[in-house]
């Protein structure tokens, strides 16, 4: 018996294991790509852009030493002046989503909002990965076929 004082939602939001029928449904944290490129505030934008694009990414996540998300560099920001720092170029405080959110829900709203990728973080802001809309839509369709 373990009394998790922060509550059930926080347990799920931290990406911790759960049981029951709904636990078998794919979640944003399961589908998020864990190899998303990260960078720090003091890096040169040009260096981050090259690293991200070489790895096939159009987005990079700005994190601190504890992997807490500080900002996001989407395609538009990555295309900025390569001599500027990440801190000067990033989109600060981006919207992030918790690992327990249903992938089908994320697929629906990412499509509706024309969002190609979303950072997935724990409730204390640590990066879990980047959820790509294409992955979310594909998994949601597969899940729908199984139902």
């Amino acid at each position: 018996m373990y009394d998790y004082e922060a509550g059930k939602l926080d347990w799920l939001a931290a990406g911790l294991p759960s049981e029951g029928t709904n636990a078998e449904r794919p979640r944003a944290g399961d589908v998020a790509r864990k190899d998303a490129p990260t960078c720090t505030l003091d890096e040169r934008l040009g260096d981050v852009r090259e690293r991200a694009r070489t790895a096939g990414w159009t987005v990079a996540v700005v994190v601190n030493a504890e992997r807490v998300v500080l900002g996001l560099l989407r395609e538009k920001e990555l295309d900025g002046d390569p001599e500027r720092s990440v801190e000067q170029s990033m989109r600060p405080g981006p919207s992030t989503f918790r690992p327990h959110v249903d992938v089908a829900e994320m697929a629906h709203y990412m499509t509706e909002h024309d969002l190609t990728s979303s950072p997935i973080t724990t409730s204390d802001g640590r990066l879990v990965g980047i959820l790509l809309r294409d992955d979310a839509v594909r998994i949601a369709h597969e899940e729908h076929r199984h139902d």
Partner: protein
């Protein structure tokens, strides 16, 4: 058009917002506030419950 008319509003609860909390866009056609996104994605439950709102 006045400044007030140009302000973005949450599609769900109609509150004024600076940008959409789902996609961060300032011109989102389906803009949502932080509270409505949190409820939508089961981060929290609405208070008071929607059925009791006028």
């Amino acid at each position: 058009m006045t400044d007030t008319e140009q302000r973005l509003r949450c599609e769900d609860c109609d509150c004024e917002i600076e940008c959409c909390e789902f996609c961060d866009a300032e011109d989102c056609a389906k803009a949502m506030c932080y509270g409505c996104v949190a409820v939508l994605l089961s981060h929290s439950v609405p208070h008071p419950p929607r059925a009791e709102r006028k």
